[in-house]
Symmetry: C2
Subunit: 421 residues, 2 copies
C-alpha cells in the first residue's frame, strides 16, 4: 500500500474510532486553539476546560472579591485536603486523609525524601533510578549529600521503567528509601508499583513514587498496593494549568511517624495560635508549609469533576485505544521512514503517551509546531506523542502523525535514495 493510501485508510479508521468513542462528546468541554490541528502534548500541559474560564472569573468577582479574607474561614483552609481527597479517590485509589495539594513537585519530592530518610536514621542508603526525571534525581542527590547518605543508583535498560529485578538488586538492610517513577516520562513504561512496593517493604525500606505521568490517566491503586509516599504534578492529565500546584500522598499509618523540614505555619497543629514553637498537625496536614495556593487549584477542580463524570476506567480505556492507534499509525506511516518505537507494544505496561525516535526529530519539531502539530521533543532523538484522553480525538492523532510522515518523507527521501542506489 502506498503512503497516501495507508494514510487515507488510517484517516477513515480514525473517524470510525471517534464515532465509537463513548467519551468523544467530552472533547467539546475543552477550549480549542485556532491554529492547532493536532495537540500531541497533553502530557506536558493539558488543555483548559471552558468551565475553568467561567470558574476563574466567578472566583475573582464573587469569592476572592466577594468573600475577601472571610474565604479563609469559610472554605479555603480545607481546600488542600478537600481537593487532595477528591484527586485521591478519583485517580490514585487512595482513601481520604492521605493526600494534599500544595507547592510544586520538586518541593514535595524534597519534603518527602527528607521525611522518608528521616524516619529510619539508622539506614544510610538512598536509592534512585538513573532513568528517573531530572528533578527527582537532582533532589535525591542533594538529599543524600546533605543527610550524609550513600546514593545508590539503579540503571534500568535504556528508556525502561525500573523492573522488579532492578529493585531487588538494589535492596539491602541499609536502604532507607527508594525514589522511583510509576510511568517513565520518556517511554511511558509502567513500573510494577504494587510488586515493587511489596519487595521494598520486605527489605524494611520505604518507597516514594512520582506519579506525574500517571495521575489522571493510569489507575494507580496506592492504598491497595500498601504504598508509602507519592507525589505528582497536576498540569499534565489533570489540566491544572501551567505551573499548577502538585500533590503529595503519605499513607495514613506513616503520617504521625514522619516529619518534614519545611515547618511552615500551615503545617502546624494550630496555624493561627501564633505560639512560640512548632507542633506539627496530626495527619497529612503536617506536610503543608505555606499559605495554600487557592487560585492555583481552581482549574484542577474542574478537571476532577470531568474525570468523575467520565470515570477513570473509561479514561484508561480510551488512553489505551489512543496509544494503540498511535502505534498503528507509526507502524504504517513512520516505521518505513526509519522511525523507531521506544514505548512498550504491550498495552498493560504502557502509560498515556508514546515515544518515537528518529535522528531528524530535533530539527523537525519546530517545523511541526509551525504546521500546528504539537508534540514534545525529548533529547536526544525522541518525539513524545502525549495523548490526553478526554481532549484528544483519533482523527487529530492521525492528522498529526500524517504530517510527521509527510515532513520526514520530504526530508529523508534524498538520503534514503542515496543509501539505496
Amino acid at each position: 500500500m502506498s503512503a497516501a493510501a495507508a494514510s487515507s485508510a488510517l484517516a477513515e479508521r480514525a473517524r470510525e474510532l471517534d464515532r465509537a468513542d463513548p467519551l468523544a462528546a467530552l472533547r467539546a468541554e475543552f477550549i480549542a486553539a485556532d491554529d492547532v490541528v493536532s495537540y500531541l502534548d497533553g502530557n506536558s500541559l493539558g488543555r483548559p476546560l471552558r468551565a475553568t474560564r467561567e470558574r476563574l472569573a466567578d472566583f475573582v468577582t464573587h469569592v476572592w472579591g466577594g468573600r475577601l479574607i472571610r474565604g479563609w474561614d469559610e472554605r479555603w483552609m480545607d481546600a488542600p485536603t478537600e481537593v487532595g481527597d477528591q484527586l485521591a479517590r478519583l485517580t490514585l485509589g487512595a482513601a481520604r486523609g492521605q493526600t494534599v495539594i500544595g507547592d510544586c513537585t520538586s518541593v514535595l519530592l524534597y519534603k518527602l525524601m527528607r521525611a522518608g530518610v528521616g524516619a529510619q536514621p539508622e539506614r544510610r542508603v538512598l536509592v534512585m533510578d538513573s532513568g528517573n526525571f531530572p528533578t527527582d534525581r537532582f533532589i535525591a542527590q542533594s538529599v543524600a549529600a546533605e543527610c550524609g547518605l550513600t546514593l545508590r543508583t539503579i540503571d534500568p535498560a535504556p528508556l525502561a521503567a525500573v523492573s522488579i529485578e532492578d529493585v531487588a538488586g538494589a535492596l539491602d538492610e541499609q536502604v532507607a528509601l527508594l525514589v522511583l517513577s510509576h510511568v517513565d516520562y520518556r517511554s511511558a513504561e509502567i513500573a510494577r508499583l504494587a510488586e515493587i512496593t511489596a519487595l521494598v517493604h520486605a527489605a524494611g525500606a520505604l518507597v516514594l513514587w512520582d506519579l506525574s505521568h500517571s495521575a489522571g490517566v493510569v489507575p494507580v491503586g496506592l492504598d491497595a498496593a500498601g504504598a508509602d509516599l507519592a507525589v505528582g504534578c497536576t498540569y499534565k492529565y489533570l489540566n491544572g494549568g501551567p505551573g499548577s500546584p502538585a500533590f503529595l500522598y503519605v499513607a495514613a499509618g506513616l503520617q504521625d511517624r514522619l516529619g518534614q523540614p519545611i515547618t511552615g505555619w500551615m503545617g502546624a497543629a494550630d496555624p493561627f495560635a501564633m505560639g512560640p514553637g512548632y507542633a506539627p498537625a496530626s495527619g497529612v496536614r503536617r506536610f503543608l508549609s505555606g499559605t495554600p495556593p487557592i487560585l492555583g487549584m481552581l482549574a484542577l477542580r474542574d478537571m476532577l469533576a470531568l474525570i468523575e463524570r467520565a470515570g477513570l476506567d473509561r479514561i484508561r480505556g480510551k488512553s489505551v485505544a489512543l496509544t494503540e492507534f498511535a502505534i498503528e499509525c507509526s507502524d504504517a506511516l513512520l516505521a518505513p521512514l526509519g522511525v523507531e518505537l521506544a514505548s512498550p507494544r504491550e498495552a498493560t505496561v504502557r502509560g498515556g503517551h508514546v515515544m518515537l525516535e528518529h535522528d531528524a526529530f530535533r530539527e523537525l519539531t519546530p517545523v511541526l509546531w509551525a504546521r500546528g502539530v504539537i508534540p514534545d521533543f525529548r533529547p536526544p532523538r525522541g518525539l513524545r506523542i502525549g495523548l490526553s484522553p478526554l481532549s484528544t480525538s483519533f482523527a487529530e492523532l492521525e492528522t498529526g502523525i500524517a504530517v510527521v510522515a509527510e515532513l520526514l518523507a520530504r526530508r529523508t527521501a534524498p538520503a534514503r535514495r542515496a543509501a539505496q542506489p
Copy 2:
C-alpha cells in the same frame, strides 16, 4: 464633644480627605464586595482588580488554551524573573537580576536560611526574633536544628520591631545569619533595615529580611541598604490573590556563592538538558526549584501595573495619611472606650496597618464581620486595621471605626458604669 458629634466630624473630615486624595480614582479599579461596608484587612488579602478578571479569562482562552505548551518557549520560562524584576524595581528598590517569583514564603524562607547558613559553615549561630511571624520562627528553629546550629533569640519589647540595640546585643563572630521582619505583622513598626544591615555586615554575618508587610506599601530600598537576602508574600499589598506565589531577593554579589537545597530542574543551568547531574544556573534562577506558577502570577502583574501608575511614593503618602486618620479616629472614638493603640504614633516608623487592643475584640470580631466591617483579629486582644492604600477610602475607614465604637460602647457601657458608680 459627644461620641455622635465626634463621629460626625470625623465623617466630614473623611470626605474631605477623600476629595483631596490624588489616588482616590484608582479605587474604582478594584472589585467591590456587595456586603462589605469597610474592608480593613487588605494587608491579609488584597482585593482583586477588575483587570485581573479579564486577564484570567483571556489567559485561559488565548494563552494557556491558545499557545498551549508553546507558552513555555514563548514567555513563561522568563516569567519568574520578569515579574520579579518588575516587583523589585517598583517596590523593593532593587536592580534587575536579583528577584524571582515562585513557591510560598515558607519554602523561600527555608531555601534562603539554608543558603545563608550554608555560605558560612564555620559560623554556628542562627539568630531570630521572638516577635517575628510564626512561620519565620518555626523554620528558623528547624533549620538551626537540622544544621546543628545554636538558635539565638532576640526578644524585643512587646509588639516592637527589632531595634539596633537588640541586634547589636545578639551579634558576635559566631553568627552566620539573622532572620528578621521589616514591618512587624502586629504593630506595623518598621525596623531600621539599612542600619541593621550595616551592623550585621560589620559583624561578618548575613541578614534575611521578611518583607511580607512592606512590599507594595513601604519603600524598602534593598540595594541602597546593601541587603543580602529577602522574601515576601504577594497576596497582601501586592494583591496576587489567596495563596499567590511569594518572591525572593538575593543580592547579585552573593548569588554565585550561595546554594540552596531544593535543587529542582528549574534552578539548573539548563533545565531541559536532562543530564545526569545538577549544575545550578548562574544568577538568581538557581533559587528556583519546580515549574513556575504561571497562572498564580497573573493577578500580581495587574497590581504591579497599577503600582507603576500610582507610584510607590504616592502610595506610601496615602498609606501614612490613612494610618494617621485611623489613629485620629481611634483616639476620638475608641480610646474613651478603653481601646489602646499598639502601633507607633510616629509615622516614619509605622507601616501600612494599625493595631488596636481591647479585651473585647476577640468576641467583637465576628459581630463586626456580620456588619460588613472586616478587620483582622490577632490574639490575644488585637484588632488589626489593614489599610491597603489604593483600595481603601478614608470614608470606609471612618465607617469601620465608628461601627467598632458603636458595638464596643453598647457592650462595655454597663461594665463602665458599674466600675464608675
